[in-house]
């Protein structure tokens, strides 16, 4: 039993990804027979605001035209919901980028701290839990929705530093969670134990052969311990074999060889991460995930679009600078393509053990820390929802009148059956879950 290349071995071993629990406790946990339909949430983040006139549909209601940035969503228009007029009304310490980022999913103020932004007073971390972790831990609290991970945090080229601009996910007050932006690290998190099992399987015959050789040179009285050792190794081998025979059709994704974690590989890294995300849904490793592209004030240089300038710098340029606005439009359109890629994968993957496709049971929320880059406004935060996982009436363009975004997160929580009274800052929850969604 020799080991194959990583790719071949992942192909083979992905098969047992959702096998029954084994010594390593790898498999998904929910019970399929009794479970209600699976509901899933993905929050996809891109930074630095959008170009509003190329982003928001002009019309309200079911008849609307997708503006330039949103054109990649055309195949899914009936499953898309755009929400204009949702505002991040959290104030307090920290500049707009910091609050835009760290209050986006938490809906609550930052603590005072030592991080000085471009303006305003210095601040620290968010003082509350983020909505993905809130829902994740709610699902973990019920036997029928429990999964291996409460949530997964994906990143794409997130700078290696921890501050309120680079963290949007919080496990609680002062508990920022770093996204994993290395797909290989994510693969190890999801499948590392399977790789370990494969390595062990590959050498256990050798271990036994070695034990037999040694057994023959020790004294008769000492042989007993080594024989016992052999028995244990044989038992382990049988356990491993049982685990790998209990296969399903679920596969781990194949990752290309060494893709370096650098700016120019963003398109490849994005695909790898989204593939892993869909895969972890297929295997029901989790029901909640976030994907963070760079960071607030992110400086991606999208050379693959022929744009050499850094994203955040471009976003400061004036509305009248049409060349810059054109580039920003294309940058945001590229992010929208990533969303479309994810939707396409979800829509083409059958729901395991259920009906329809993954997209029927998933909602993807695409959002941003700012409404608009050059004004740094926290009004009209981009919120585009896609997929049918939460029972919202999709295929519409809605406009609200300066509604705090806390109410959107309340609505999302309620759609999961998590009937929170308030989320984040209670004062911003007046009126309860956002209306008109269902």
């Amino acid at each position: 039993m020799r080991q194959k290349t990583r790719r071949a071995f992942m192909r083979d071993l992905g098969l047992s990804a959702a096998a029954t629990p084994f010594v390593w406790g790898l498999a998904a946990r929910g019970s399929e027979a009794t479970a209600p339909r699976r509901q899933r949430l993905v929050i996809l983040f891109s930074p630095n605001g959008v170009v509003p006139w190329n982003f928001w549909p002009k019309e309200v209601g079911e008849q609307f035209t997708l503006p330039e940035i949103l054109t990649p969503l055309q195949p899914f228009q009936k499953r898309v919901l755009t929400l204009h007029g949702i505002c991040n009304r959290v104030r307090g310490d920290g500049d707009s980028h910091m609050r835009g980022m760290s209050c986006l999913l938490t809906g609550i103020e930052l603590f005072p701290g030592n991080i000085q932004g471009g303006s305003d007073t210095p601040a620290g971390w968010a003082s509350g839990i983020s909505i993905d972790h809130e829902i994740g831990s709610f699902l973990q609290g019920r036997e029928e929705t429990k999964t291996r991970f409460a949530s997964l945090e994906f990143g794409v080229v997130v700078p290696p530093r921890a501050d309120p601009w680079t963290r949007m996910v919080y496990a609680g007050p002062n508990k920022p969670i770093a996204p994993i932006d290395d797909p290989y690290q994510m693969l190890r998190k999801l499948y590392g134990r399977l790789q370990d099992q494969a390595s062990l399987s590959a050498i256990l015959d050798d271990v036994q052969e070695d034990l037999r050789k040694v057994r023959d040179v020790v004294s008769a009285a000492d042989r007993r311990v080594l024989e016992e050792n052999e028995t244990f190794v044989r038992e382990l081998e049988l356990e491993l074999r049982a685990a790998s025979q209990d296969q399903t059709q679920r596969q781990a994704p194949e990752l290309d060889g060494d893709v370096k974690n650098v700016n120019d590989n963003i398109p490849t890294l994005s695909r790898m991460q989204l593939d892993l995300l869909v895969n972890s849904f297929v295997n029901d490793f989790t029901r909640v995930a976030t994907v963070q592209y760079t960071n607030s004030v992110g400086q991606a240089r999208m050379r693959w679009l022929g744009i050499d300038e850094a994203h955040h710098e471009l976003s400061h340029n004036a509305d009248s600078d049409t060349a810059s606005q054109e580039k920003l439009t294309r940058i945001n359109q590229w992010f929208c393509q990533q969303l479309a890629y994810l939707l396409e994968k979800l829509a083409s993957t059958p729901e395991p053990g259920g009906e329809g496709t993954l997209l029927d049971n998933t909602v993807v929320v695409w959002t941003n820390e700012l409404g608009k880059g050059n004004s740094h406004t926290l009004d009209n935060i981009p919120f585009v929802l896609a997929g049918n996982g939460l029972g919202f009436r999709m295929g519409r363009s809605l406009k609200y009148d300066k509604v705090p975004h806390n109410r959107l997160w309340l609505a999302v929580a309620h759609a999961f059956g998590h009937r929170l009274e308030t989320f984040g800052k209670p004062e911003l929850c007046g009126g309860g879950p956002l209306h008109d969604l269902t």
Partner: protein, 777 residues
């Protein structure tokens, strides 16, 4: 034959059947020689039947006969099973010859005489047993196995951390204003700066670098307390253990836990930054296992950055300590799982760090050759001996053939090595003890770890074959921190303080005796032990008789001694009429005491078992100690005497109590007292020696003088040290091994270091079959 058949039922295996057939022929010949059937002799005993027909193959005591049935008769089958097996299968050529009553008699004789585990234990001759690495040995061996691929660090006398202070927050070299060594990191800068002459008040930053020394093995909680920003790295200079660079809200105590091995030095870096906060402060603290949270003391900080230590995080089941010392002569399913998980953990970390371990970049043109070479060296070090060509192929080279992913090949090779009995067990060489076995015995005895390069090179040159050569190596190795760590490990077990988790006492009776005092006491005792054991004379008697101890300010104030000038510990004298070395050290007095009162019984048992090495049966029934309130007028001594008055108690307590009473001058926190319950303390006691003479004493000092001069104490100490060091029964090295060592101990003026060397000398060269020691070859 029985042994084989029983074993076959348990585990199977081809070679067993082949060898069983060989035995069957001999059994048939024996039966023929004896002239016919066994049946029909009503008066014959099982023993006679056994001696007549079984002994030639199985040996007089079932120990087995080489080239016939070498396996000893022993196991866990019931008597009924044994009867059935003899009835149906013995003798193998014609099982009908021994059936019914005869089979029962033979089986019963075998069972009662040597087969059953208890019988085996009774009659077994002491021998050097095949042993797996103990948990401690495993951890140390792995740390040294991987660590040797990194550069070495040398510990000298310098202490404290290298400190740099910068004006501004960026650690810019040209803004470095102060360079110095800080003994501890425990600063309240207030609104000012570290030195207003060179750094203006306001934004500044600082960096401390060096290493931290861990004394004991376990989970260490590190804490940085600051209202500013800070980051701490421990043992891994890439990934911070604590990242509190963002100061947020009122959080000013940031903690994280990391597992460290005792007796090793870990790289550490701390960065600090003050921005617009009103004030600045930073305190670097830790809570070692079984200790209190405190600023990391200067003596634990080193200004040099040591290489990281490879610490296995997989939990192992505790070792068998039923013989009085941890040993690895048994294995279990949970041990097997732990060693498998641990191997996976290590293999993954090796692969993750392969570039630095193998000294080979990912894109090196000769990467494959270098990785193969790395794996060869890894296997050699793990196995403590050179590899044959066949072994190189088996453990390493095969895994690289046709493998595109070199890391997968490395992982498989490393896993196979770590799961090999050649790594996991000591003494697999059978009876042929060679130079490399000798090297392993020395290093596992003194370090609980692999031989270092110097020792392996001496083995390679055949320079370890004489007692003097072994002694020279042992002396060299005693200077290593690993030897110090092992000796401390032994001393803690000897004093039965290895696992003290709580020393708390009654608050109203002993105000001020808190966790910090308890932690200081432990430190004080450790300093005392190290001071004596690692002095030139290393005199065991001084451990029992010294009239000094070590105190810091807190202990000085609690126990009433001259307070030292600085924060550290200093040696101060004690009244030699009252005190006696470690015996009256407050840590032990408090350890062997109740919440409110002293415990003469615990103190007495500590002396009887731990110092005199006398055997005590467990109490015949569980007895709740009489409550203090039972009769408030009774002294502790009176209460204990009353409770243990029944004759059933007195068989043991006649020995225990009078030894424990000698410590009655010391209360539950080890402070000296002259009276209790308004009665003057009676600390008189007595002891009847193993040879029958009666000794009396007036208190702890008297008792200590007796113990320090008693042959019982000397022999007990030698025996305990031997067993903790060697982890094999002393008798396996000769019936008079302990006599010999005790005589040498006395002759060396009770030098503990000399005793360690002598133990290494007499055990390293012992053949496994104990017939002969290795002669100069």
């Amino acid at each position: 034959m029985i042994g084989y058949l029983l074993r076959e039922r348990r585990s199977g295996g081809d070679c067993v059947v082949v060898r069983a057939a060989k035995c069957a022929l001999i059994a048939a010949a024996t039966a023929a020689f004896s002239g016919g059937s066994w049946a029909g002799e009503p008066d014959v005993t099982g023993k006679e039947l056994y001696e007549r027909h079984c002994v030639r193959c199985h040996g007089a005591r079932g120990e087995g006969v080489p080239d016939k049935c070498a396996d000893p008769l022993g196991g866990s089958q019931s008597l009924a099973d044994l009867v059935q097996i003899v009835d149906e299968t013995m003798p193998e050529d014609d099982p009908s010859q021994c059936t019914g009553e005869d089979a029962r008699k033979v089986a019963q004789y075998i069972f009662e005489s040597f087969y059953a585990p208890e019988a085996e234990e009774r009659t077994r001759q002491a021998r050097i047993e095949l042993s797996r690495l103990t948990v401690r040995q495993y951890h140390n061996a792995v740390a040294d196995l991987v660590g040797r691929f990194l550069r070495d660090g040398t510990l000298d006398e310098r202490r404290g951390l290298r400190a740099e202070y910068f004006s501004g927050r960026g650690f810019q070299r040209d803004k470095r204003a102060i360079e110095r060594v800080d003994g501890v990191v425990d600063f309240e800068f207030g609104e000012g700066s570290p030195n207003s002459a060179v750094i203006a008040p306001g934004e500044f930053s600082a960096r401390w670098q060096g290493s931290v020394i861990a004394d004991s093995t376990g989970d260490y909680e590190f804490s940085i307390q600051t209202e500013n920003g800070a980051r701490l790295w421990v043992n891994d200079l890439q990934q911070p253990l604590i990242d509190a660079w963002v100061q947020s809200g009122t959080d000013d105590d940031h903690r994280a836990t990391i597992r460290l091995l005792g007796g090793r030095v870990y790289p550490l870096r701390l960065e600090f930054s003050r921005s617009k906060e009103k004030t600045a402060s930073i305190h670097l603290r830790w809570q070692p296992p079984r200790d209190a949270l405190a600023v990391i003391p200067r003596r634990h900080l080193v200004p040099d950055s040591f290489p990281p230590v490879f610490v296995v995080n997989t939990d192992f089941p505790p070792d068998d300590s039923s013989a009085g010392y941890e040993r690895g002569t048994t294995i279990s399913k949970s041990w097997d799982q732990a060693k498998t998980y641990a191997a996976v953990e290590i293999a993954n970390k090796v692969v993750a760090n392969i570039a630095s371990l193998a000294g080979c970049k990912d894109d090196a043109p000769d990467r494959k050759e270098r990785l193969v070479d790395f794996c060869h060296r890894f296997a050699q070090r793990a196995f403590r001996r050179p590899l044959s060509d066949e072994q190189k192929q088996f453990f390493v080279e095969r895994h690289f053939e046709g493998e595109e992913e070199l890391n997968v090949a490395v992982k498989n090779a490393v896993l196979l090595v770590l799961l090999s009995p050649r790594f996991l067990y000591l003494g697999i060489a059978g009876n042929q003890v060679d130079d490399y076995d000798i090297a392993s015995r020395i290093s596992f005895a003194l370090w609980d770890s692999l031989p270092d390069s110097a020792l392996l090179q001496a083995a390679e040159r055949g320079e370890l074959r004489t007692p003097d050569a072994v002694a020279n190596q042992a002396r060299r190795m005693l200077a290593d921190p690993r030897a110090r760590s092992k000796v401390r490990y032994f001393l803690h077990h000897w004093l039965n303080i290895a696992h003290v988790d709580d020393l708390s006492k009654d608050n109203t009776q002993f105000p001020g005796f808190d966790g910090a005092v308890a932690a200081d006491l432990r430190e004080s005792l450790d300093l005392f032990l190290d001071h004596i054991v690692w002095s030139d004379r290393a005199d065991f008697r001084e451990l029992l008789l010294a009239d000094y101890w070590f105190v810091n300010r807190r202990l000085a104030s609690f126990y009433g001694a001259e307070p030292p000038e600085d924060d550290g510990f200093v040696r101060v004298p004690r009244d030699s009429r009252q005190h006696a070395g470690l015996l009256t050290h407050p840590y032990l007095m408090a350890r062997y005491a109740y919440h409110k009162t002293s415990s003469p019984i615990h103190r007495g048992v500590f002396i009887v078992r731990g110092q005199l090495g006398r055997f005590l049966k467990p109490p015949p029934e569980a007895v709740t100690p009489l409550d203090e309130g039972f009769n408030p007028d009774l002294t502790t001594r009176q209460r204990v005497a009353l409770q243990t008055k029944p004759a059933a108690c007195q068989t043991c307590h006649a020995m225990i109590n009078p030894l424990g009473f000698a410590f009655e001058h010391f209360d539950a926190v080890g402070r000296v007292r002259t009276d209790e319950k308004k009665s003057p303390i009676d600390a008189s006691g007595s002891y009847t020696t193993a040879s029958g003479s009666v000794v009396t004493f007036a208190g702890a000092r008297d008792l200590a003088e007796f113990l320090a001069a008693s042959e019982e104490t000397h022999r007990c100490f030698v025996g305990q040290l031997f067993h903790h060091v060697v982890k094999q029964p002393a008798a396996a090295f000769g019936k008079d091994e302990l006599d010999h060592l005790t005589a040498a101990f006395v002759a060396s003026e009770f030098n503990v270091q000399d005793l360690l060397v002598e133990i290494a000398k007499t055990t390293a060269l012992q053949a496994n079959d104990q017939e002969s020691t290795i002669e100069s070859q």
